[in-house]
Symmetry: C2
Subunit: 460 residues, 2 copies
C-alpha cells in the first residue's frame, strides 16, 4: 500500500526541538510553582465514557472525539458495538470532567482538601484557528473539599498564577477576577430576574461595545435604567479595593451583592499584599458565570489582547457529587499550547540551543572513541549533559556540528599521554586545559535557557 | 440524564497521588539520563492517519483505536465521513511510527544524526492483562541518521539503559543483546534458507523448551543436525567476549556471521568498560529480528522473569524513507507503565510522602492567616514547597493533617511580637525556633523520595 502524503494535521501542533525546549521551560515553571504550593500531581486516562462527557462544560457536545477499536469497526458492527462493555469512549475535552470522575472514584483513598495539579493533553474536534487547537496541553490546579470549601482558597489561586506568569516570556499580564454573587445580587437588586441572559449579553461587551450591549439588554426585556446600571457595573475595575466604593456609589443593595463584594475584596486584598498590580477586580468578567458559583478568573496578556484569556477558572459549589456528599472546588486552567502558539508565532522567546548537551566531546580517531566516551561518562557523572561526536571528522567539521546545535563547548581529548585535554568555548574561541573530573561549564551554560525577545531583554 | 456508574476501565491505569510520585521519580530518572546523553525532546500528536498505522509494527492492525468526531458520527454519516479531509485518524500504538513520520515531515529542519527522546502515552485496543495495557506511557530514545548510521551508536544505547535501571527500584537487571546478522549468517552457513521461520521458532525457546523447539524446527523442514545447531547457538550467552569463541566452536562460517559477531563484540566491549555485568550477549534473543536489521535489545529484571522484557529495541536500516533518502535508526523503548504496574502490584517502592509539600504552615486563627501566608511565601521563595493549613483548627488537628500526607514539618507562626516562630519535625517531635527567611529542611526532606522495599534497602 502506498503511503499517504505527509502533511501536518491542522489543529494538531508539533514543535521542532528548539521550540520544544521553550515548551519544556514553560512546563517546568508551571510544575515547579504548583509543587511549591503543595499541589499533588494526578494524571487521568485520556478517555471517558461518552455519556460522562456529553453535556458537560457548556456546549461541548459537538467537540467530542469518539474512540473505538478499528477492528470492531471493520467487523461492520459499528462503533457503538465495537467498544467494550457496551460503553462508548471519547477523548476528554478538558481536565475537569476527568477530575470530577477521579475524585468520586477514589474519594475513600484521597486526602481532602485535595490540592491537585494535572498537566495533560485534551482534544476537541472544533474548527482550528489561531489559539484554538484540536489537541492541546492544559495545566490545571484545583482545590477540592468535601461538603464545604473555605473561601481563602479563592484568594490563593491568583497568587499562584501571578507567580507563574511573572516567570514566563509573555510580557505583562493581569489576572482579572469577578464574583458571580456581585452580578447576581446587583441584578436582583435592580429587579432583573433572568440573571443568566443578562450575564450572557454583558459578556459581549468587549466584542460589540456598550451601545450594542445596552440595545440587547433592552431587547431582552430590561428597561433603559436597568440596562444602564448593568453597564455601569461592568465598567468598574480596580487593582485595589476601590471597586467596592464604586459599586456602592451605584446605590444598589442586596444581600448577595454584599456577600460577593466581601468575597472579592478578600481576593484583591491578598493580591495587593503578594502580587500588587497583578490581580484586578473587573466586574465585566462574565464568562463562565453561568456554571461557576463564586469567584471567576481570566488571565490576559497586556501586550496581546487579541489573544483572549490564556488562563481561566473559578469556583463551583458542586464539582462532583455522589448523591450523598458534594465536592465543591475552585480551580484554574492554563492553556499551555495556546501560550506556545503565541510565543512561537510572535517570536517572543527562543531557546539558547536546540539540545540539552552543553559539551560535544570530539573524537581524534575512531580507535580512540573509547577515550572520548570515558570523558563523556565523567562529565555526565557530574551532571554535565554531553554527546560524543558522531564521526572522527576534521575538527572544523566537529566544531560546526556543535555550532549548528548551539552546543557551547567542544572538548578535545589529548592525543597522547604527554598532552592534556582541552575545552573550547566555540562562541569566544577561548580554549583552555581541562580535566573531565573537575571541569564544569558556567552555571548559565549548564542547561539550555529560554531567551525572551522582548524589548526589556528579560531572560528567564 | 443519570450518570453512568463510576468504575475503573480495564487496561487504563490511573494512580493515587503517592504512586504518581513514584511514577514521576521514574520519569525524572529517565528524562535526566536521556538529557545527560544529549537527546532532544520531541512530542508528537496523539493521532496519525489510519493508513499510516495499519500494517506497521507487526500484527498491530487489530489493536488500533480509531478516532472520529462524535458530532459527525451522530449525523449518521459514519466514522469515515466524519473525519476531516477524507482521512481517518487513529491513536498511535507506539512512538516509532509517529517518529518516522515526524522525521520525514521535518527532515529539512532537523539536525542529523538526530538524537531524540520521547516520553508519551500510546494506545492499543488489545485485551488487558498483567503488564499489558490499553493506555500506557513509553519512554523512547532513537538515533536517526541519513543514508548511513555509524555502528558505535548501537553500543551506546545499552549503557544509557544500564544507567537508568541502576537508579530504578526494580532490583537487578540485564540488558540482553543479540545481532540479527549472527543468526542469519549462522543459519545460512548451515544451509537454512527460511531464516524468518527459524527465528520465529527459536523465539519460543523460553516458552516451550529445547525439545519443543527442536521438534518444531524439524517439522519446519530442518534436518536433525541443523536443528541441534540452531539450539546450540541459542544456548550461548556471556557478559564478556566468550560468546565469540563459543560460536566459533560450533564450526560454522559465513560472512554475515563474522560481521554480526564483530558488531556484537563491539557492543559487549563497551558494556564491559562502562556497565560490567549489565550487558549480556544472549544469542537466543530473537524477538523483533524479523524487522530489526542489526543489533536487538531486550532488558529483563532478574527478580521478575515472569514479567518479560521491560525495554526493547534494535536497529533498523530504514526507519523511514522518502523514496530518495533512507533514514536508518537505532532505538529502545522503556515500558514505563509496565514498570509502574510491577512496582505497585509487588510493592517494590513507595513515596516518602503523598505531596510535594515539606512543610505545613499552621494557622493560629483565621485573622492571622495573612501572617501564615507570608511565612509560606518566604519558604517558597527559597524553594521549600509548603502549604498553609486549610483551617485554624486545634494544633493537634493541624498536625494530624500533615501526618496523614507525610508532610515532615509543621511551622508555628508566633502568636505575638514577643514570641518567635517555631518549626516541629513531627516524626521526632523535636521543635525549635526558626526564621522563615533562613530555615530549610534537611536536603533529604526537601522533596519526596522514593523508598525501595527490597531487602538491600536501596533508597533512590
Amino acid at each position: 500500500m502506498s503511503q499517504p502524503k505527509i502533511t501536518p494535521l491542522s489543529g494538531f501542533p508539533e514543535f521542532l526541538p528548539a521550540d520544544r525546549i521553550v515548551e519544556q521551560h514553560l512546563l517546568d515553571v508551571i510544575q515547579r510553582t504548583f509543587e511549591l504550593h503543595g499541589f499533588v500531581s494526578v494524571e487521568t486516562r485520556a478517555v471517558e465514557p461518552v455519556e460522562r462527557l456529553v453535556g458537560k462544560g457548556g456546549d461541548a457536545d459537538k467537540e467530542i472525539y469518539a474512540v473505538s477499536r478499528l477492528a470492531g469497526r471493520s467487523d461492520g458492527a459499528g462503533p457503538a458495538a465495537a467498544a467494550d462493555a457496551g460503553s462508548d469512549l471519547g477523548l476528554h475535552f478538558d481536565l475537569t470532567v476527568p477530575l470530577a470522575r477521579y475524585v468520586l472514584e477514589n474519594a475513600g483513598k484521597l486526602q481532602f482538601p485535595l490540592r491537585r495539579y494535572q498537566i495533560q493533553r485534551s482534544w476537541r474536534g472544533e474548527r482550528p484557528q489561531e489559539g484554538r487547537y484540536r489537541e492541546f496541553t492544559q495545566a490545571d490546579i484545583d482545590i477540592i473539599d468535601v461538603d464545604t470549601l473555605a473561601p481563602h482558597f479563592e484568594a490563593e489561586l491568583p497568587l499562584i498564577l501571578a507567580g507563574i506568569f511573572e516567570q514566563l516570556p509573555v510580557g505583562d499580564f493581569v489576572v482579572k477576577v469577578n464574583n458571580r454573587l456581585i452580578c447576581e445580587g446587583f441584578y436582583r437588586g435592580i429587579g432583573i430576574e433572568d440573571v443568566a441572559t443578562t450575564l450572557r449579553i454583558v459578556d459581549k461587551l468587549d466584542k460589540i461595545g456598550a451601545a450594542g450591549v445596552e440595545a440587547m439588554l433592552v431587547e431582552s426585556g430590561l428597561n433603559a435604567a436597568q440596562a444602564r446600571q448593568c453597564l455601569a457595573l461592568a465598567e468598574i475595575r480596580s487593582t485595589d479595593l476601590g471597586f467596592v466604593d464604586a459599586v456602592r456609589a451605584l446605590g444598589v443593595t442586596h444581600p448577595e451583592l454584599d456577600e460577593g463584594l466581601a468575597a472579592l475584596a478578600a481576593v484583591i486584598r491578598e493580591g495587593m499584599a503578594h502580587a500588587p498590580g497583578r490581580v484586578e477586580a473587573d466586574l465585566r468578567i462574565a464568562r463562565g458565570l453561568d456554571y461557576y458559583t463564586g469567584t471567576v478568573y481570566e488571565t490576559f496578556l497586556l501586550g496581546h489582547p487579541e489573544f483572549g484569556a490564556v488562563c481561566s477558572g473559578g469556583r463551583y459549589d458542586e464539582l462532583a457529587s455522589d448523591g450523598v456528599r458534594a465536592y465543591p472546588g475552585v480551580g484554574v486552567s492554563i492553556g499551555v499550547t495556546r501560550l506556545m502558539g503565541l510565543i512561537v508565532s510572535r517570536g517572543l522567546a527562543t531557546a539558547s540551543r536546540s539540545t540539552p548537551a552543553a559539551v560535544l566531546v570530539a573524537v581524534n580517531d575512531e580507535a580512540s572513541r573509547p577515550r572520548s566516551n570515558a570523558v563523556a561518562a565523567a562529565l555526565r557523572a557530574r551532571g554535565v549533559a554531553c554527546e560524543v561526536a558522531p564521526a572522527a571528522a576534521k575538527f572544523g567539521k566537529q566544531i560546526r556540528y556543535a555550532d549548528r546545535r548551539g552546543i557551547p563547548f567542544v572538548w578535545f581529548p589529548a592525543r597522547d599521554a604527554e598532552a592534556v585535554d582541552e575545552v573550547k568555548d566555540i562562541r569566544t574561541g577561548e580554549q583552555q586545559p581541562a580535566d573531565e573530573r573537575a571541569w564544569s561549564p558556567p552555571a548559565e551554560d549548564l542547561h539550555p535557557t529560554v531567551i525572551a525577545a522582548q524589548r526589556d531583554g528579560d531572560s528567564t
